[in-house]
């Protein structure tokens, strides 16, 4: 019997043959933390170890509230800078660099065959590069600082085959909303989710990141794609270290296989307050919106800017609606600037702010008031996620967001192109 990707990566780290359900103690290749590093460093000090196990395995990115919105966030950042200096951590990215899940791939830390953990649930994103990547808690990251190690359960593998050819303008976000709407918010619970099939092969690396980013939204431990020529081209000149591609054996045991044909997929929207409350845009069009958020680690990369700017060129955000734009990273911002996309969005009346998480977890830069409604390209629509429990969050693709910003209501872009 062959081995799955997850069994191979965890088995290699554990130094033995492993099977699903087994718990192993392993040393991750990369451990990512962000603004929560201040709290983690305090827990690390409670453990009573003076120096961290291996500074080179840690990557720290400030992104959750950048620049600091108030004194408490400022103190938090200050504490992290002091910890980074004290421990000699080389891979530190301050408030000017972008969202961690975009920065790690851009900087060549997300590599095939790697075991990566992050004290952030969307650390699953790195699976788009063939890494086994998952989220962990703050205390667990403090222990990795102290010992380098963590316990992980070897997951069963769920294979999702995406067949057919995506209709023009339908994006990987629509594909992921379709998968989660059908399989439900716990459909991938504890699983290693393998995205494959012809429609995945045709997707750009950035589009694939949408699927692995949101894998956690239906409970997955990790989501991944097997690296192909596109992946390797992205990594060329970027990878921080040599790597070996790891793939599942053809006869490896899978827990389940699900097939989706996306040839006739419609634009989709996840309605409040759950990511699996998915409806075709035609069912909710006309719903008035107070704000559009084009940002987040899910959908704010250069290909998304190209689409949004293409729709909004020469047009205006509807007067009854605001639009907040946050590029996923400074690299994305600079490229969008060079290509004229920022100019277009600025002229359209969008509010463009520094790369980071912004309002996506209720910290700043676009918090909602009671009774307000946002249409967002982000990944999570739980009640209160945008800082106010009496507001509503709808999730969609960048194209649906752009078309709706122009009308001030949820709109089917196919009627406006």
């Amino acid at each position: 019997m062959g081995k799955t990707f997850a069994e191979k990566v965890l088995g290699q780290k554990a130094g033995k043959n492993v099977v699903p359900g087994e718990i192993v103690e392993v040393k991750p290749d990369i451990a990512m933390s962000h603004d929560n590093t201040a709290a983690i460093s305090k827990t690390f000090k409670e453990i009573g170890v003076a120096k961290i196990d291996d500074p080179n395995r840690h990557v720290i990115v400030l992104d959750h509230c950048v620049p600091a919105a108030n004194e408490k966030f400022a103190q938090n950042h200050k504490d992290i800078r002091a910890f980074v200096a004290e421990q000699g951590i080389p891979n530190f990215f301050d408030i000017d660099r972008g969202i961690c899940h975009q920065v790690l791939p851009e900087e060549g830390f997300a590599l095939p065959g790697y075991l990566m953990v992050g004290s952030d649930s969307h650390s699953t994103t790195y699976g788009a590069f063939g890494a086994l990547a998952t989220g962990i808690g703050r205390s667990e990251m403090a222990v990795i600082f102290a010992t380098g190690k963590i316990w992980l359960r070897v997951p069963e593998t769920m294979k999702i085959i995406v067949k057919g050819r995506l209709p023009k303008w339908i994006s990987s976000k629509d594909v992921m909303l379709k998968i989660m709407g059908d399989l439900s918010a716990d459909g991938g619970l504890y699983k290693s989710v393998w995205f494959t099939g012809p429609a995945i092969a045709e997707m750009s690396v950035s589009s694939r990141m949408v699927l692995t980013n949101m894998a956690v939204e239906f409970g997955a431990k990790n989501g991944y794609m097997e690296p192909d020529d596109q992946t390797l081209a992205f990594l060329k000149g970027r990878a921080r270290a040599p790597f070996t591609v790891v793939t599942s054996d053809p006869d490896a045991e899978l827990e389940s296989v699900h097939e989706f044909d996306v040839s006739d997929l419609e634009p989709l929207v996840a309605c409040p307050h759950s990511v699996d409350n998915v409806k075709p845009v035609s069912a909710v069009k006309g719903t008035r919106i107070d704000q559009v958020f084009f940002g987040s680690c899910t959908n704010a990369r250069i290909e998304d800017f190209e689409i949004v700017a293409g729709v909004m060129k020469g047009k205006r955000v509807h007067p009854s609606c605001r639009m907040v734009v946050i590029p996923a990273s400074r690299q994305v911002f600079l490229e969008a600037l060079a290509k004229g996309y920022i100019q277009i969005l600025g002229e359209a009346g969008a509010t463009i702010v520094n790369s980071g998480c912004g309002p996506c977890m209720g910290n700043h830069e676009g918090i909602l008031a009671p009774g307000e409604r946002v249409l967002s390209t982000s990944n999570r629509n739980f009640k209160g996620r945008f800082g106010c429990k009496d507001s509503e969050i709808y999730l969609c693709s960048p194209l649906t967001a752009a078309a709706s910003a122009l009308t001030g209501e949820i709109s089917d872009f196919r009627e406006h192109l």
Binding site: N36, G48, K383
Partner: protein, 166 residues
């Protein structure tokens, strides 16, 4: 291991970390008493005001889905909650409970068998829950992680493993 006797706070499926411990507090609220006051803020405004030591939170599937924030486990512990029983847990929430030393018990019959407000008894050693509907059995925690739980959580466990605490 001790018995836990407390009143039931009953909730539904897919209770997420944002309603247990809102994201806007994750970098500004660290004091345990203050965390306890925020517990369940966007789910049940009465919870933090009325919860008593050893009360038990019961829920349906996928409890604690969403964020990795461990404050969503710690805030219940600081509020005095004795255990969380659910049909299933998100993997991050389950880990965070173990690491906080808060019993997270998986019971396929949850939450249907429970009545809000009823007093139930959990026997961690026997793996049983006694409630009005009868006696129910839950599977033990995995062997490999029970040591973390028995040591009171991941940080005390790590100190012990490193020989810092004997």
């Amino acid at each position: 291991m001790a018995k836990i006797v407390g009143r039931v706070w009953k909730y539904g499926d897919d209770v997420n970390t944002d309603v247990i411990f809102p994201g806007k507090y994750t970098y500004t609220v660290t004091d345990p008493a203050e965390m306890a006051r925020i517990a369940m803020e966007d789910l049940d405004a009465d919870f933090a005001k009325n919860v008593q030591p050893d009360d038990i939170v019961v829920a349906g599937k996928n409890f604690g889905c969403g964020s990795s924030r461990e404050q969503a486990a710690f805030c219940l512990k600081y509020a005095g909650v004795g255990a969380v029983v659910a049909r299933s847990f998100s993997r991050l929430y389950f880990r965070n409970c173990i690491n906080a030393g808060l019993p997270a018990l998986t019971l396929p019959e949850s939450a249907d068998i429970f009545v809000a407000g009823e007093r139930i008894e959990i026997d961690l050693s026997a793996g049983t829950i006694q409630c009005q509907a009868g006696l129910f059995h839950f599977p033990p925690l995995p062997e490999a992680v029970i040591g973390i739980f028995n040591d009171g959580g991941l940080i005390p466990h790590t100190r012990k493993a490193l020989g810092i605490d004997s």
